[in-house]
């Protein structure tokens, strides 16, 4: 449980990072890179949802709302005020975080399926507002012409964001930072408090954990990160419309974290990448694609209720202890 990194771990981490950086060399087609960038966006979304559902045990069925609010906030601010992406991504996080804070305050005293359905409501409500508040959001017509991030120059590296590879690198940094942040958090007293709430809220309160405050914290941070992912999405696809941020997307995110295993950090990332790529792999199955996807999900849940990574981890721990 301690956060110490041994030398071997450092080495493995470096090798992994190098491998990830080299990806565009091996998969230079924009199609692949697009899938990888989408995987990165989903990885952030999945981690942010896992913080809420996996670590603090609060089922949220409206996570895509924060993703959407972030995307819209960032796109509209940058279009109306001309601020660069590097500023608006923080605005997106702030707006989505504020919204999730308010919603969290309202709903987090509910539990289980009551919470799930109420969060679903806010998810639907946000979609409806995006669709109908024409003056602000342009409704179903969506927001086109979103600017790309302004180029950045680092020693030895310039990212112009005219190519998918540039986005890939930026996404890599994004995923890395979020993973690092959440890794530090979940391995701290805060993470411990969240785990305590997930495992046994009554007991957690009895040992002095302010359950409501921590749940709201996780919900807010999760929402804010989702909002930032939304900003990244908006300035990547350059066009957003409400159809991207529906309840189906919220459920899709839940599927990802369950697939990967939501009580670890790697699980959601794995789930996000696997389930972003899987439907693309299944394109060759043609019209059977979604049937296979659905059946695979059913078999999977029956087979591996802890998720792929969760199962591996739990078996490994069982073997140790």
């Amino acid at each position: 449980m301690n956060g110490r990194m041994t030398g071997a771990k450092w080495l493995a981490g470096l090798a992994g990072a190098a491998l990830l950086c080299a990806v565009p060399r091996f998969f230079s087609l924009d199609y692949y890179l697009h899938m990888f960038v989408m995987s990165e966006i989903y990885a952030v979304l999945a981690m942010s949802l896992a913080l809420i559902v996996g670590f603090s045990g609060q089922v949220s069925m409206g996570h895509a709302a924060f993703y959407g609010v972030g995307a819209y906030a960032s796109a509209l601010i940058s279009l109306k005020s001309g601020l660069p992406f590097w500023v608006t991504i923080w605005c997106a996080g702030a707006v989505a975080g504020l919204l999730s804070f308010v919603i969290g305050k309202m709903v987090l005293r509910l539990r289980g399926h009551f919470l799930a359905i109420t969060t679903a409501f806010f998810g639907v409500l946000v979609t409806l507002i995006l669709n109908n508040w024409i003056e602000l959001t342009n409704g179903p017509m969506g927001v086109p012409g979103i600017p790309r991030p302004s180029p950045i120059s680092l020693p030895g590296l310039t990212l112009s964001f005219e190519t998918r590879a540039d986005y890939y690198y930026l996404g890599l940094v994004f995923v890395g930072l979020v993973a690092f942040l959440l890794y530090r958090l979940v391995n701290s007293r805060i993470g411990n408090a969240l785990i305590a709430i997930r495992e046994n809220e009554e007991l957690a309160r009895s040992i002095g954990v302010d359950a409501m405050a921590y749940k709201v914290f996780a919900f807010t941070l999760g929402g804010a990160l989702a909002g930032m992912a939304g900003s990244f999405y908006a300035h990547y696809i350059l066009f957003i419309s409400p159809v991207t941020f529906t309840i189906a997307e919220s459920i899709n995110l839940l599927v990802m974290i369950i697939f990967g295993g939501m009580t670890t950090l790697f699980g959601p990332v794995f789930g996000a990448v696997a389930l972003t790529l899987l439907p693309e792999f299944l394109r060759m199955a043609g019209s059977l694609r979604l049937v296979i996807y659905g059946v695979a999900l059913v078999i999977f849940i029956i087979w591996l209720p802890l998720g792929v990574w969760g199962t591996i981890k739990s078996k490994w721990m069982e073997r140790r202890g």
Partner: protein
């Protein structure tokens, strides 16, 4: 204005009837097996197709087709319970949510593949008869929906309240182990529950197919609405669910007519959230397990 209000209310009640049929089955499943069935809307969709094909294939008329659809979906429901849901009974709720979501995706897309995306109408033959009374307007088809809906709901309520199997279902939902110890075959009750739920969904699907057409994607939005209804009505509570279904029907109809139609999908949720804020223990009191 009053006439418009009454007309909207009448429309809402008829809608509520349909919702009650679907939500009751979902609620039974939730109460007895303690799993969330997000594929319930697909039962309703498959039921509608079954009625459609028995009319076009077997040449039967509307009401026999309704019956065939109910029996057929009863059987399919039972099979799905055994094959898909049985292994995850007793697991956390989120597992059944995801599992049934997968099932829903698979069934909806299978239907798309087999039946085509193209929507079709079930001919009840009643849509062109109009009833007018006190300035209100109703087609015979909608009246039929009201009558059949009320009849089926009453039948179900009687079944649950008074028959041996119905009582056993209640017993299982209140305490599964005690039911086992009383010699109730819990596994059979699970199957019966899914069969009844499937049949009710098929009835609703067939009637909706007559009013609004049948298509493979008709299921999903209904499922979500029915989850709101059972949360509103109290999980596993028959009377609560019926009341909640009618409330949601009215909310959609009146809210859609008088507030804003564009936000129609939000009203059921809004009702639910208001209820949670004002009365966290649910519509009929007591905590939802």
């Amino acid at each position: 204005m009053l006439m418009v209000f009454l007309q909207q209310a009448l429309n809402g009640i008829i809608l509520g009837c349909i919702y009650a049929l679907i939500a009751l089955g979902l609620s039974l499943i939730f109460g007895i097996l303690e799993v969330a069935n997000f594929a319930h809307g697909e039962f309703y969709m498959l039921g509608a197709f079954m009625a459609l094909f028995s009319m076009s294939g077997l040449g039967v008329s509307f009401f026999p087709a309704l019956l065939i659809a109910m029996i057929g979906m009863g059987i399919i429901g039972a099979i799905i319970e055994r094959a898909v849901f049985r292994p995850i009974v007793g697991k956390p709720l989120i597992n059944s949510m995801l599992l049934s979501f997968g099932l829903s995706t698979a069934l909806a897309n299978l239907a798309l593949l087999l039946f085509g995306a193209d929507p079709q109408k079930i001919e009840s033959g009643l849509a062109d008869y109009h009833l007018r009374f006190f300035g209100l307007h109703l087609t015979a088809e909608r009246l039929m929906v009201l009558v059949v809906g009320v009849a089926l709901v009453t039948l179900l309520a009687w079944f649950i309240q008074s028959t041996r199997t119905g009582k056993a279902m209640r017993a299982v939902s209140q305490d599964r182990v005690a039911a086992q110890l009383a010699g109730i075959n819990v596994s059979r009750i699970y199957t019966v529950t899914f069969a009844i739920s499937g049949a009710l969904a098929a009835a609703a699907g067939t009637m909706v197919g007559a009013m609004f057409f049948v298509s493979p994607e008709m299921g999903f939005s209904v499922t979500l609405k029915c989850f709101i209804i059972i949360a509103l009505g109290g999980f596993g509570k028959i009377r609560g669910v019926i009341v909640a279904a009618v409330m949601i029907g009215l909310a959609e109809s009146l809210g859609g007519g008088f507030i804003s139609y564009a936000y129609k999908d939000a009203y059921p949720f809004l009702l639910l959230v208001l209820l949670f804020m004002l009365k966290p223990q649910g519509l009929t009191g007591g905590s939802g397990r």
